[in-house]
Structure formats: C-alpha cells, structure tokens
Symmetry: C2
Subunit: 214 residues, 2 copies
DNA sequence: TTAGTTCTAGTCAATTTGACTATAACTAAT
DNA sequence: ATTAGTTATAGTCAAATTGACTAGAACTAA
C-alpha cells in the first residue's frame, strides 16, 4: 500500500492519498482494493512488492518497508490467503506520474468507502504505524521532495497527525535534528517572506531491516 | 522465538535466555535452530506459532507478537522458504516447566554460537526490537510473574538494556505509569528491608494487532 | 545492640517542552 | 512610495521532565 501527499480539493493543503485498484473479478468484483499480487519463487519480498507496485500503478517509491503479515483464515471467501503487506511513501513528483485510469484511482486516506477483503483494516493499521513513526523517527521527509521548507514539513505532520502545531516550536524541534541540513537557497514566488530551503541527509530507506527508528 | 528470564550462572542476576532445538536432519544437521514448523491451511498465524511452541518446548507464552516475515531467496540451501516469525515472552514460572532434552536446550541470548539458516540475524533483530519496546512501552512485565518488586523490574531493564539504572529515578518512572498497581503485600524472606509488591494491570498481549506501544 | 544493605522519599540543577512575543522580510493594495 | 497583511524567524519565560544525589526507614545478620 502506498501513501503520497496531494493537495486537498478544498483547502489546497497537503493531505494523505492512497492509490487503489478496482477488482475486475470475483470475489469483491467492482470494489476497490489495495494493489497486490503473488510472490514468485525467484524474487525477494521487497522485490515482489516493488514489481507489483510498478505493474499496477507505475510508481517508484522512495521508501518501502514491511508492514505486517496478515493470515486470518477468512480474509478471502474463496481460499486461504496469507498477505505480507509492504507500505511505501512516494514523493509528490513521483506520485504525479502515476498511471490513473478507470481501474486505478487515488483516494483520500481519511475518506475511503468499503474496500475488498480486509483492506480497510490493513489501511487503518498502516495509518496508525505512519503516525507512530512520524512522532519519533524522521520518516516524514520521504513524503517530500529533495528540498523543502520548514513550513512544508510542518504541514506534513499536521496532515498525518491531524492537529495543528506551533510553527515556532516545530521549527526548533526540526532544527535540532542532525539529519536536516540548511541550504542557502530560498523558495521564491510565494506571497510573503521567502522561506529558507532545507534538505534531508538521512539514509534513503527502501530496506526492510531498517533499524533506525522504533 | 522465545525470550525468558533466568538467573545467570555466575551472578545469579536475571538474564535473557532463548530455547533452541537441534537440527536432526539436513540442512544444517546438528546445529541449533529456532523452533518452527509449517503453517496448516486451517490455523491462523498466531495459532500456528503457539502450536509449534507447545509441540517442541511445551511452553505457553504470556505474550506473543509477530516479529517479521523473512523471505530472502537463499535462507535455506535446498528450497525457497518464507518464515513469518513470531516472538514470545514467557514468565519465569512457565519457563521452568519447559521440556529440556538432548535436542532442546536454553541458551543465553548474548552467548549464542553459529545457528542454522539465518537464525542469528533473526535473533539479533528480535533483541533490537525487544530493547526498543522496553524503552517505550510496558512490555517488560510479561517477563515477570503476576507480582513483582520494583527492583525486579529494574533488573529486567538492566538485563535487556545492558546498563545500570538509578534505583530512585527508575522507581519514580515506574510509579508514574498508570498500569502499575501498588499492592499491600511485601516480599518476605529477603536479607534486607522487605520491598513492596506491585502488579501489572495492562492488557495481556497475545495479539498480533496490538497497537498500544510503538 | 550494631553494622550492613536495600527500600523509599525527597531535593536540586539541567534539560526539554509548550505558550507566547517580537522583529524581519516579503507581496499586494492604496 | 507608503502602508497593510502575512509568513518566517528568533527569542523569552514558566511548566514539566530528567539525571545526579542525599537521607531516613526497615529489615537481617553478626
């Protein structure tokens, strides 16, 4: 499953979006579902996740991590299925390149209808984990591009945690993390004082055994 | 994989131990390995983990949680194997009931030799996760019995985190967590002032979707 | 009765956090 | 050109938390 930031239709502020694919066969024909597919004997788990992602949506995530293995007996009405779910974060520029079609669409993460299988529960769990990781580690930067302003980082936190944060205190907090590097560039073209651009110098992610954050 | 506290041979202080089983067939015949086995079509993932645990060691854990799904292509030299690993914590009284034999033995977690498959890496990851969970959540209590003293809790933390903690400050920290309940019992029979007994009132664990701690 | 040890409650300074104020730097309207 | 409006940024201050430490309470063993 994939998270990306997209501007909300109304406020224009960034919100979390998820691409889903429509089921074209039973069970749950016609309902929306998470992209996925079988694991071949010759590919690793993250490779299979990346391949499925590419084949269905054309996306190339900047962050990929194992979420959880779901193996309940009645996840599918027709057969026993064990799904090892990965979750990915994609940057806005990449997300814009995604193939959208009749059967592949983006949805706001907080406004999903009833999905196929247990996919609502899986997304709930992923959202919980995303919020948790945000509170501690430095995962938010994988939702942003290479350069960003501190206000943009704050908007990401506000979108995911769903509450407002004090700009001054948030700035102090971010500036205290060593992985954030100040550049001498400024974002021009805004309506007000141009903010300084920063960049994230942490590791790229894309690794299941990624042990830097709880 | 299972963690339990056992007194160290020398100091007698509690340390982390892990039960392993000896491989009786190829590959890795003769080496020690984590207990495990196949998943049947009619049991859930945690059920399968509990059954395997019971069959090989006779243990009934007080805490069970999914660790990670390992699916590298060359984990076994003979075939492609995907292992969905669970980890368990057992209380000392339960651990003492474990079946030990020629082919099932307890080992100190920090003194393991070379194990079969990628099991050393799996244990390293589990240890990392255990330390991480200890630092935040209230997982340590599943390694203890129903009643415990604050010094015992501290010893668990010291054993797992491998550093000494100030008794007074640790006490203040533990007493501030609402899940710890003070009883009006005292542990008698010690050599010094009898410490008060406490109990843990949090949820029992034993659930894969256990979302209370990061 | 005394020495030794742990249990327990507390102090105090250093650090972190949350709420807030003030100035800087830009755009858009007058 | 000036002013109003808005965001960016730096800083203050009190409250809360943390780490290092002191001291009395309560028991056992000599």
């Amino acid at each position: 499953m994939i998270f990306a930031l997209r501007p909300s239709e109304r406020s224009g502020r960034p919100t979390l979006w998820i691409p889903l694919v429509r089921r074209i066969r039973e069970p749950f024909k016609g309902l929306w579902a998470l992209p996925g597919g079988p694991l071949s004997h010759t590919e690793s788990l993250p490779d299979a996740a990346l391949r499925n992602l590419r084949e269905t949506t054309g996306l190339a995530p900047s962050y990929l991590e194992q979420l959880y293995a779901f193996g309940g007996l009645h996840r599918s009405p027709t057969q026993r299925v064990v799904s090892i779910v990965y979750w990915a974060l994609v940057q806005p520029t990449e997300a814009a390149l995604a193939d959208e079609s009749e059967n592949v669409k983006w949805f706001r993460a907080d406004r999903l209808g009833e999905l196929a299988f247990d996919h609502n529960a899986i997304i709930d769990y992923a959202l919980w984990r995303l919020r948790n990781k945000m509170a501690y580690g430095s995962i938010a930067y994988h939702l942003l591009g290479e350069y960003f302003t501190l206000a943009q980082v704050r908007e990401v936190y506000e979108a995911v945690l769903d509450r407002e944060l004090d700009p001054a205190n948030f700035r102090r907090h971010v500036k205290a993390t060593p992985e954030i590097e100040e550049t001498d560039q400024y974002l021009q073209g805004g309506k007000h004082r141009p903010p300084r651009l920063y960049r994230f110098t942490g590791r790229p992610g894309l690794d299941p055994d990624n042990r830097s954050t709880p």
